[in-house]
């Protein structure tokens, strides 16, 4: 890509860091509490043009150390769910999602926060992952590239779910930009110091990047390897009881992002039989053996990898912003 001129993008004025969207994913819960404590103690001066709000998304589930109370909060943010009919008997998380949409959104509008960073853990051996709905959001991709450089010892991947803004269903889709920051492996209900520290350092670097960006730095272009989700595979199940009849094969367990080829081992039945991958195409597995996905019928997800070239970017200055708004307005007149 031969573009020397950086792409100009609006500054990020309002950022939300969310933890406890799933109440038993504890790194985010404890990190948000710690960040709130730090903010109180420091009595931070005006951060300049940047306002960072830190919040626990699902307080009731967090208090009970459960993923959710009635419904998975991180599936409640599609436009259909947000704007659907209101009922008094609605699940707790549907009502909560609408409140979050009102304060961080509304999703799709000018009032929405500029960036949502939603903190998660997984029982899968995924290292640190960004999960986003776009493979062309230069802000998210540049933040990821920055983290890769700043934290070279942590395995890091960018996962892309190819879903439209309208259909996107997770909390991070409420902001103008957004991603989930997913770190594993960690059992739910447990806080592991190494995972907490990685998340804490990661969030610190994310906020630093935003400061640099807002202050006018140019971020040079480059590339990011993006994993685009293709499909899920469920466990083999008993036709009557629906209980699973096999476990992830020991040669696949913990091998997230190691290429899975046709005929590679996939499952091992309880009677010792090996079941192999029947797809035609080698794909990259992730979310291998994520606890919360048993009930969603997902043993693992599969992705294609591609290299995405990202342009250099810079924040728009006030002048540039106004010029661009004026030229847009005059275009409309014509």
């Amino acid at each position: 890509m031969e573009v020397d001129e950086p792409v100009l993008l609006p500054r990020l004025a309002r950022v939300a860091v969310c933890g406890g969207t799933h109440g038993n994913e504890l790194s985010g819960v404890y990190l948000v509490r710690e960040l709130l404590k730090e903010a109180q103690e420091k009595e931070r001066d005006d951060e300049g043009p940047l306002s960072v709000q830190t919040l626990l998304s699902n307080p009731r589930a967090t208090q009970q150390c459960r993923r959710y109370i009635d419904a998975d909060l991180n599936r409640c943010f599609s436009l259909a769910t947000l704007n659907g009919p209101v009922s008094e008997a609605a699940p707790y998380e549907i009502i909560l999602a609408r409140e979050l949409n009102a304060s961080l959104g509304p999703k799709g509008s000018q009032e929405a926060v500029d960036l949502v960073c939603d903190l998660h853990n997984t029982t899968a051996n995924m290292g640190l992952c960004f999960i986003a709905y776009s493979d062309k959001d230069w802000i998210c991709l540049h933040i990821f590239k920055h983290l890769q450089r700043q934290m070279p010892d942590i395995p890091m991947r960018f996962i892309h779910f190819n879903i439209s803004k309208k259909e996107s269903y997770s909390l991070d889709s409420v902001g103008k930009h957004g991603f989930a920051l997913e770190i594993g492996p960690q059992p739910h209900g447990v806080v592991r110091s190494n995972v907490y520290t990685a998340m804490k350092v990661g969030v610190r670097h994310i906020l630093d990047w935003i400061h640099y960006f807002n202050s006018g730095s140019v971020f040079e272009g480059g590339y990011v390897d993006v994993f685009t989700m293709v499909k899920n595979i469920d466990y083999p199940r008993d036709s009557q009881t629906h209980n699973i009849t096999a476990a992830i094969h020991p040669r696949l367990q913990d091998r997230d992002f190691c290429l899975l080829c046709p005929e590679d081992p996939l499952f091992q039945t309880f009677s010792g039989e090996e079941l192999t991958y029947k797809g035609n195409e080698p794909l990259y597995p992730f979310f291998i053996n994520e606890c919360a996905y048993y009930e969603k019928g997902i043993a693992l997800s599969l992705a294609r990898k591609k290299r995405v070239m990202i342009p250099p970017i810079r924040a728009q200055t006030e002048v540039e912003k106004q010029a661009s708004e004026q030229s847009f307005a005059s275009e409309e007149e014509e």
Binding site: Y30, E38, P187, S193, T197, N243, F270, C291
Partner: protein, 316 residues
């Protein structure tokens, strides 16, 4: 059950004819659930000559919801008060369940009680394969554990002895004459890992082999068994409101069964400070960072190493 020493100090122990295998005492500890489901469908693997082996899902409602418990921890529920409590279906689910289990496999302490109950558990702690013993005087169980350890060597299987006056609790397996706990980790709650599942299966195979051999008349000479005896429970540092303010230190995380010396790092606060172990002597920590113990105010258990002598045993 009668055990009495003859002149050669061999304990005569009644044959173990009725054996139960409990899975899902905690509904989200998946190895035991999967094994019991498997063996309920096809029990060939657990059959042994002269033994009735019964696989049993101890807490089916918790298993269905994939939670540790519904109202209260079943594995703490087998107290004398609970087992005799009136109230029928007004009682918490697990207390009702404990009474049912006591009826089927007990009554606890009586002649009719099952000979052996194996209680299958998983832990998020890096404990490997651990057998849990409830009494240092239970020669039969000690001999079984000795047999299992030798059978799986060089793979390791350690023995945790909980005879602590306050920390010992009323387990579901305590209904039987010989309660044997089997704890395998690390495995997240709600997750089934192949290697963990297989490890538990192998241990049970050897345990049942032992019972079959014993029942057929094999004598087991006296032996010594290394055990880790429970000393005390250490909680997380907490603030005035009871919130946890530190995590297990990276140097201690996953170091179950390794010596913890006075002065060693123990916890790390969320802002990076180290809290050191203040005990007066070296201990062996276990159950380090078990998810279910946050609410029980336990970050880990300390133990000390001991060698127990087991009497020779033969069938009465």
């Amino acid at each position: 059950m009668s055990t009495h020493n003859n002149n050669n100090n061999t304990a005569r122990v009644t044959a173990a004819r009725r054996v139960a295998i409990f899975g899902g005492t905690h509904g989200n500890e998946m190895s035991g659930v999967a094994l019991v489901n498997l063996w309920t469908k096809n029990g060939a693997e657990i059959q042994r000559k002269g033994v009735e082996t019964r696989p049993f899902l101890a807490n089916p409602w918790a298993v269905e919801k994939c939670v540790r418990y519904v109202d209260t921890d079943l594995n703490r529920a087998f107290t004398p008060e609970n087992l005799s409590a009136p109230g029928g279906d007004e009682l918490p689910y697990e207390v009702q369940r404990a009474q049912e289990i006591n009826k089927i496999f007990g009554p606890k302490g009586s002649q009719e009680a099952y000979d052996v109950i194996f209680d299958l558990h998983n832990t998020t702690s890096n404990m490997g394969c651990t057998l849990i013993l409830e009494s240092s005087k239970d020669s039969f169980s000690l001999q079984m554990m000795n047999y299992i350890k030798k059978a799986i060597a060089p793979a390791s299987c350690l023995v945790l002895l909980n005879e602590h006056p306050h920390l010992k609790y009323s387990t579901s397996r305590s209904v039987a004459r010989h309660p044997v706990g089997l704890e395998v980790g690390p495995q997240p709650q709600g997750v089934l890992r192949s290697n963990i599942f297989q490890a538990m299966r192998v241990i049970l195979k050897h345990a049942l082999d032992f019972i079959e051999l014993f029942n057929e008349g094999m004598e087991f000479p006296s032996c010594t068994v290394e055990v880790f005896r429970v000393l005390e429970s250490i909680d997380y540092p907490r603030d005035a409101n009871g919130n946890i303010i530190a995590m297990v230190h990276p140097n201690l995380q996953d170091c179950d069964w390794e010596p913890l010396n006075p002065g060693d790092p123990m916890f790390q606060t969320f802002d990076g400070q180290t809290v050191h172990y203040q005990g007066s002597s070296t201990v062996y920590p276990t159950f380090i960072n078990e998810a279910a113990y946050y609410e029980k105010q336990q970050a880990f258990l300390t133990t000390r190493r001991e060698t127990l002598a087991a009497n020779a045993i033969s069938k009465a």
